[in-house]
């Protein structure tokens, strides 16, 4: 009898409290329903359909004919290769340009850092097409850069910048740079400045402190940025 009362006391309101917990979970899940429906209707179903189609041959029966064609045609391989080359190069250049800049921004006072951040974000306000055409105007054979450089005697023959790898790289880097800087900047701001002070106090030269403390701590942000840039390429 005594144990029974004790048990009852321990479980007082248990069912009602569990119900409240469950209700909260369902409400949270309910919030994702519109998005899930949209994704399912607009992405999963069409892509699934496309995937199914890829197994249908010309004679409308199931076959691996399409995949054979990819394997046997050199054109597809070249496209893949160029894509990867451009992606890797773009990512590399983005890191080389973006990391020092972001490091600089992360060391500024809040006010100046925000001004720099706006500078980084401004290209987002212009349409992609406009930016690409702007580069065409600047870089073409009789464009601004070539004619100025020839006027100043930097080089005598116009250099071919556009419609080749270098032009693509210039454009890609310009468009992708913010995607590297933003996650990296968010990460660098969270690095405790006292950690760098501690490193200096313990005997690390500024360079040593950077490579042993700051750089390893900025890696998560760098990887996030790298991934976004590489995937978008």
């Amino acid at each position: 009898m005594a144990t029974k009362t004790k048990l009852n006391k321990e479980h007082i309101n248990k069912i009602e409290l569990d119900q409240l917990d469950r209700k909260e979970r369902y409400t949270l899940f309910g919030l994702t329903v519109p998005y899930l429906a949209l994704v399912f209707g607009l992405i999963i179903i069409p892509i699934g359909w496309l995937f199914y189609m890829s197994f249908i041959g010309r004679d409308e029966t199931l076959s691996l004919e399409n995949y054979e064609r990819i394997w046997n045609s050199k054109a597809y391989f070249r496209i893949f290769k160029t894509t990867f080359q451009i992606s890797i190069l773009t990512t590399l250049i983005c890191v080389l340009l973006g990391y020092p800049l972001t490091y600089f921004m992360s060391q500024l006072s809040n006010r100046w850092a925000n001004i720099c951040l706006i500078g980084v974000l401004i290209p987002f306000w212009t349409s992609l097409l406009v930016r690409t055409y702007a580069w065409l105007v600047l870089l073409q054979k009789k464009g601004l850069i070539n004619s100025l450089a020839i006027d100043w005697g930097l080089w005598s023959e116009p250099i071919k910048f556009v419609h080749n790898t270098s032009g693509t790289l210039i454009g890609m880097v310009h468009i992708m740079l913010p995607f590297l800087i933003l996650p990296l900047y968010a990460n660098m701001r969270t690095i405790d400045k006292d950690c760098l002070k501690a490193a200096a106090n313990l005997g690390a030269t500024p360079t040593r402190a950077f490579w042993t403390v700051f750089f390893p701590l900025s890696l998560p942000g760098l990887f996030a940025g790298l991934l976004i840039v590489f995937v978008l390429c």
């Binding site: 006292d194 002070k197 106090n201 690390a204 701590l217």
Partner: protein, 308 residues
């Protein structure tokens, strides 16, 4: 921060012994610092954190291991070397930060409010432990704190700094017993400051003459410093003592002591409040008059002193 070299002073000199270091960059100063928020490296485990300064100094792997273990033992963290920093409690992080600061045996140990993030109980334990550690390590330690009680507990010498200026430098006893000025009297320990007038070397509180421990050279307005625990209940004038009469306006039980607020007689002592503290367990506790009653308290001449 100036000592460690992170803040450059506008001018002036910082000397370790006879060596001028004000122009030295932080990494050449060879002082161990414990930061307020510990500043442990989150991407390293305990062992790597503590071994970091040794690694920078090019110490061999085996020696690093030995010194790290030694340091961890000193701060009572042996066996936790492989833990990540995130897996440690506040007190443990504190100890890791300390181990990291002492592992390379710096000339000076700097502690910037190291205990302020800990809860009161742990803080008091750590205070005693840090004292013992200081004695066994024999390292000059500069300890920054806003907690005046902590300052009294931890130090051989205290420098009270207010608004960038040095107010007083002395042993805890000197600072507590003979504060230089009203700021220190008020800041270090509990005290009531009663405004008094000095004319012709006599000290008056309202119109009552007050005996003080040291002679006063000039006339004018001064403050009489009364430590609450130095007051005692009395029923008449005693030799070499000052007496104050007033009514009890508040009486608060605070565990180890009873805090009593006495409003001094406005006719004779001026309109001022005196705080008095009676330790729990003494006989006066039972004899204590209740709130509203009038009371006379005494203060020895040797415990009465003035500040400007």
């Amino acid at each position: 921060m100036v000592l460690a070299g992170f803040t450059r002073p506008d001018y002036g000199s910082v000397k370790f012994g006879t060596e001028e270091v004000v122009l030295k960059p932080p990494h050449l100063r060879d002082i161990g610092m414990v930061f307020q928020n510990y500043a442990l490296f989150p991407h390293m485990n305990v062992e790597q954190n503590v071994g970091y300064p040794q690694k920078l100094r090019g110490v061999s792997k085996k020696d690093i291991k030995d010194t790290v273990n030694e340091a961890l033992k000193t701060v009572k963290l042996d066996g936790l070397g492989h833990r990540g920093v995130a897996e440690l409690s506040g007190g443990q992080r504190q100890r890791v930060a300390l181990a990291r600061a002492i592992v390379f045996q710096p000339k000076i140990l700097l502690m910037d409010e190291p205990l302020s993030a800990l809860d009161k109980k742990l803080r008091e334990e750590m205070q005693i432990e840090l004292r013992q550690l200081h004695d066994s390590l024999n390292m000059t330690t500069v300890y920054v704190t806003h907690d005046q009680k902590e300052a009294l507990t931890m130090s051989d010498r205290i420098a009270v700094i207010n608004g960038g200026g040095l107010m007083q430098l002395g042993t805890p006893n000197e600072i507590y017993q003979n504060p230089n000025n009203a700021f220190i009297a008020d800041f270090i320990g509990e005290s009531s400051l009663l405004s008094v007038k000095v004319s012709k070397k006599n000290v008056y509180l309202g119109n009552v003459k007050i005996l003080v421990d040291h002679s006063v050279k000039k006339d004018g307005d001064f403050l009489l410093v009364v430590r609450p625990e130095k007051l005692f209940l009395t029923n008449g004038k005693t030799d070499n003592c000052n007496t104050f009469t007033g009514t009890i306006v508040e009486s608060i039980y605070q565990g180890e002591s009873q805090l009593i607020m006495i409003k001094l007689d406005p006719n004779t002592h001026g309109d001022q409040i005196l705080r008095m503290r009676i330790p729990n367990g003494t006989s006066s506790m039972e004899e204590l008059p209740s709130v509203g009653a009038s009371v006379t308290v005494g203060l020895k001449k040797s415990d009465s002193f003035l500040v400007e």
